[in-house]
Amino acid sequence: MSTDVKKREISSGMQRNINIAIAVVLVAILGFLFSKTRNVDFDAHNDVISNLRQLKQIDAEWNIDVFKSKMGINNNYDPVAQPLPVIRELATGLTQKTVETGESAELDTMLKSFQEIMAKKIAMIERFKSQNSIYRNSTNFLPTAYDDVIATAKRIGLSAARQAELEATVNPVFSETLSYNLTPDAALKDKLTQQLVTLRERAEQYPLEVKESIEVLIAHIGTTLKQQDIGASLLNELSALPTAKKIDELSDAYSKTHETRLLDQQFYRQLLIAYSVFLLALLGYLGWRLIRSYRQLGKVNGALTQANRELKESQMQLVQSEKMSALGQMVAGIAHEINTPLAYVKGTLDVMKEHLSKVHDLANSSHLFATSLRDKNADKNELNTQYLQVATLSHDVVKNKRFEELDSMLSDGTHGIGQISEIVINLRNFSRLDRASVANFDVRKGLDSTLLLARNLLKHRVTVQTEYLDVPDIMCSPSQINQVFLNIITNAAHAMGEQGTLILRTERHDEKMIRIEIQDDGGGIPSSVLPKIFDPFFTTKPIGEGTGMGLSISYKIIEAHGGKILVDTEKDIGTTFSILLPIQQKQAAAGIIEDDDPVDLQPA
């Protein structure tokens, strides 16, 4: 490969990579725009909004339940406790959905602040429950505690005066506590706190049991006051907690982001359309270019096909003419072969004609003499001369042994004709093989009939030795293989010049192949020529004597059979062509050189 070609390949490789990169970028842009138009998740948005709506509703109901608990309408805290898991679930759902629909910093902070407030509310309501239950408990318990004080005093037998005094001390505190519980008022609380201190001091004056019951009452009044305060501030704080507002804000924010996303989506959709148009245009341009180069390619292709067809035609012509030249040689050989016995038969016939004219004469004079003998009026002299003539002629026939001659000439003629018919049979054999293009074939027979055809070429100067080892029949096209043999043998004969020995060998090469060797002791093939001998049109013969196609065709034939031709040559020692041929053909190797409509050598 020349460096130029290499460079071109490298740069075309680079070009390809760049093209791929450009295509990837274009597709990536398309994908990006496409994803941007998919970006808005309506379901998730609807979920978020309905989630928020539920939250708002539950939050509102929760407030009512807290209020009902405060007012003592709810007598247990299950309604206040139950929203907890629901709120938690909704809040986590909200966070998840926010992540799904795509976060935004603003939403994130709002969500966080909402969750903080919600957590605060949850904690406050926990406190409210604790506080409210204790407060209500103590409030409920106050009358019992008050009754207890009075009853204890009675039970332990406190004097009526002291009982009355006790009642007068405890009663105002008790009733003012009750009214404080109804209308909590700071002034009243101060007053009550003061009264409780006094009451605790006074309690010391009473017997232990009474004192203890007063202390229980004081403890519960204290609890009431304290829890009332805590409760009031808790409820104040609770009602100040802007959960509903936060939820509304969140809803607004979600809707706003959703809207912006929709706008974004619209924008990207338009961008996508523009981009698609651009891509389409690009594709159109590329398509146009492709069609153009296809057309060019088509033109070039047409020209090439034309050239190829012409080349093939001329190759076919060459193959034909090679075959004709081989045929010509063969025909010359055959003509010569036939000529010899033919001349011989002709000579014999000529001599026979001579002999037969004498016999003809004898027959004529004998006939004349016989007719004259029957004739009563025949002249004696005439008879005498006729007799003498017959005698002379028959003497000549007998003495010259003309009949024996004729006889032997007849058998000579028959022999000559036999030789001719032998040649014809051979020819017929050679040609009959042509009928089936692939057949079981004994290469030894092929070699023999080829030798016969080439006899003219070899006769007198070339000694032929055959060293055939047993080989199996092979599947092949016999006519083509014979053509190869003829070709190589002809070449060998030419190579050997005046005198030489041609050795033909057959042997089993291995399991699958047989080997045929054709060895001459000619001058060998010069090393400058050796690499070219199988090239088409290569010939060392003078113009007009060979086409230069012989070995090239032979090579193709053997190759097409799945075999090999090997050449082993040494200067002044000779050349050996080894042909390896498979015993079985992989597939029916018909039409090995395609043009063959085989030349029919069979006599009509």
Partner: protein, 323 residues
């Protein structure tokens, strides 16, 4: 708002009609509500959770199953003051009952777990209970042919922290004990509890136990200081971290010694009592409640009536009264 108003009206109407019709109607406006008779649950998850609940392979060293501390025959708890976890380690608190958890709104004594899922997630890795890690546990379960197959068929995937918790929680929700005699009473069967028991209930309400122990679970839905009206811990002494209660989580002074008000469902079956397991009998527990939550001594007769009432809270599990 409207819904709230309506329910107020409904409640009022019910109270009035109850007053008019006598005892035949269900006691609709009582602060204690009956446990529902049925719950909808995914049975496949429940039975997988059940298998895990009884399986010692769940603990790190394979020695202990949930059942050890939450036995069916011991009211869903273990009748020891402080439960022993793997390698005989003593826990910090008493084991609460595994029954009726679905009706609590907070879990654990100090209420630190907002859901059963939270609870199970922490419990598995608690070195004093199961002492394992979720990686180890999932790997172990997925390595067992029986579990691998079960998880595949129930969840369509191998065991994960999430689905293990899901199965166990489903099972826990299936452990509810309806039809306590008191529930039958609430549903309108006046003869379901005795006169004394009814009086006990009246006392329970009158003394204010009901302020904290109310709702379906007779507790379990709020926090309270243990020692509202007196310092229980000062009296008991030897204060531990666990005694700080909710404070451990919030670090808020106001949450010191704050605990979840426990459910009193099946309470008769789960001695000893309190988070520290310090009250050996119901009698002791009610005494302490009187003293520290109500700020008054318990009159003996009333206390006994209350205890009688508490015993009517024992329900049925799978149709049989709990023992």
């Amino acid at each position: 708002m409207l819904g709230g108003l309506l329910s107020v009206i409904a409640a009022l109407a019910a109270t009035i009609s109850m007053g008019m019709a006598g005892q035949v109607l269900a006691q609709v406006n009582e602060p204690i509500k009956p446990i529902p008779l049925e719950m909808k649950l995914d049975e496949r998850k429940v039975s997988l959770g059940e298998k895990l609940f009884f399986d010692k392979r769940v603990s790190e060293d394979g020695t202990i199953a949930c059942f050890a501390c939450h036995g069916y025959n011991t009211g869903g708890a273990d009748r020891t003051p402080l439960s022993k976890g793997i390698r005989g380690q003593q826990g910090d608190v008493n084991a609460p009952s595994i029954f009726n958890l679905a009706f609590n709104s907070r879990y654990s004594w100090d209420g630190r777990n907002e859901s059963l899922e939270d609870q199970i997630k922490k419990l598995m890795v608690n070195p004093k209970v199961m002492g394992t890690t979720w990686e180890k546990l999932t790997a172990r379960l997925n390595g067992q042919a029986d579990y691998a197959e079960l998880f595949k068929s129930v969840f369509g995937e191998p065991a994960t922290a999430k689905n293990i918790a899901e199965a166990i929680v489903a099972f826990e929700r299936s452990l509810f004990t309806p039809n306590a005699r008191f529930d039958k009473f609430l549903r309108g069967d006046k003869t379901a509890i005795t006169e004394d028991e009814q009086r006990g209930y009246q006392k329970f309400k009158a003394y204010g136990c009901i302020a904290c122990h109310q709702g379906v679970n007779v507790g379990g839905n709020m926090f309270q200081v243990f020692g509202v009206m007196g310092d229980y811990f000062k009296k008991r002494g030897n204060i531990t971290t666990a005694d700080l209660g909710r404070f451990n989580q919030t670090k808020n002074e106001a949450d010191k010694h704050v605990f979840r008000v426990p459910s009193l469902r099946n309470v008769a079956l789960t001695p000893p009592y309190f988070h520290d397991g310090s009250a050996a009998t119901l009698d002791d527990a009610v005494d302490i409640m009187f003293q520290y939550q109500l700020g008054r001594p318990a009159p003996k007769g009333d206390k006994e009536l209350i205890i009688k009432f508490l015993r009517t809270l024992t329900g049925e599990f799978k149709g049989k009264p709990l023992q």
